[in-house]
Point group: C2
Chain length 183, copies 2
């Protein structure tokens, strides 16, 4: 097993475990057991647990935003793209094993103690906010609308996570639709 593959396996295991059970309740030994990558290898690839956490969040960030954009951009009309964001949230919330927003969970767990993780969470949320800003600008709407849609999306993520339900996505979509048609 070469380094690239070991790295991928380690990140797969880290993502599954950190997302599913929280970062602090997962030990490096659990990551080894799930990934099949030995501790020695793990520490060669990620010299400390915190680096593994950062790599997990970074890889997930790229995938999350990529999938969102891919989904939204199937729509042609700017307004449709905006609403598609909420549809995509709904499919995400309905996935088995959905446990809320990985970044918000990580922030609650580590934000107070790890400035680097807190920074990653802020960067992820800023990127999402800017993506919404771009969609809103493409629709010729004021940027303030993007802020409001962002709050709806964040509220939906948090509520879906806590209540284990996909319903908030539809509620947020409806609110977004009304904000769009009113403005």
């Amino acid at each position: 097993m070469d380094s690239a593959l070991a790295r991928e396996r380690a990140l797969d295991a880290a993502e599954e475990l950190f997302y599913g059970r929280g970062v602090q309740s997962v030990g490096m030994d659990d990551v080894r057991g799930t990934s099949g990558v030995s501790l020695k290898r793990l520490y060669q690839l990620f010299p400390a647990k915190e680096l593994l956490v950062e790599a997990y969040l970074e890889r997930r960030d790229a995938r999350w935003r990529g999938q969102l954009a891919e989904y939204a951009e199937r729509q042609v009309e700017p307004e449709e793209r905006i609403l598609a964001v909420f549809d995509w949230l709904g499919t995400w919330f309905a996935e088995p094993g959905f446990r809320g927003c990985a970044w918000l969970n990580a922030y609650g767990e580590l934000g107070a103690t790890s400035e680097r993780v807190a920074g990653q969470v802020r960067a992820h949320k800023r990127a999402f906010r800017e993506y919404l800003g771009a969609l809103v600008a493409a629709a010729g709407r004021p940027d303030a609308l993007a802020g409001q849609l962002f709050l709806l999306a964040e509220g939906a993520m948090v509520t879906a996570g806590v209540t284990r339900s996909a319903e908030p996505a539809a509620e947020a979509r409806e609110a977004a639709r009304r904000l769009l048609e009113a403005g």
Copy 2:
């Protein structure tokens, strides 16, 4: 120092420390140091750390909802009361030491490992949702509006926590105002 006072001191310290630094990074010894209540007393009052955490969340829940209701009910018109909720969020976000929603932080930290804490978070959010529902019903609006306002408020809390800014309250208030005037 009698038991009631010791209990109060312990909860004061627990709240300050758990909220400010997260539950897991605060030891019982820190609570003892901050509260001045000895470990022996602490364990008489709260036989395990988890019970102290639950008591912290419960006391804070009562205070949080009480203060919100007190603030909102200074307004007479139902619509004004709804908007006052967002004004109150703004004053909360601007308080020194604000670090986001205590329940969402606790959920990110412990939701995956403590079913009791997860239940407290759900109960707190449900109560807030129902409070909004009552305000919305008093305004003669459909309950679906309360769900949308709830998502805005949750999004504002989370975003204010992550970005350390009070601004999301005003954004959410503006969105709420538009949803109110549109419907």
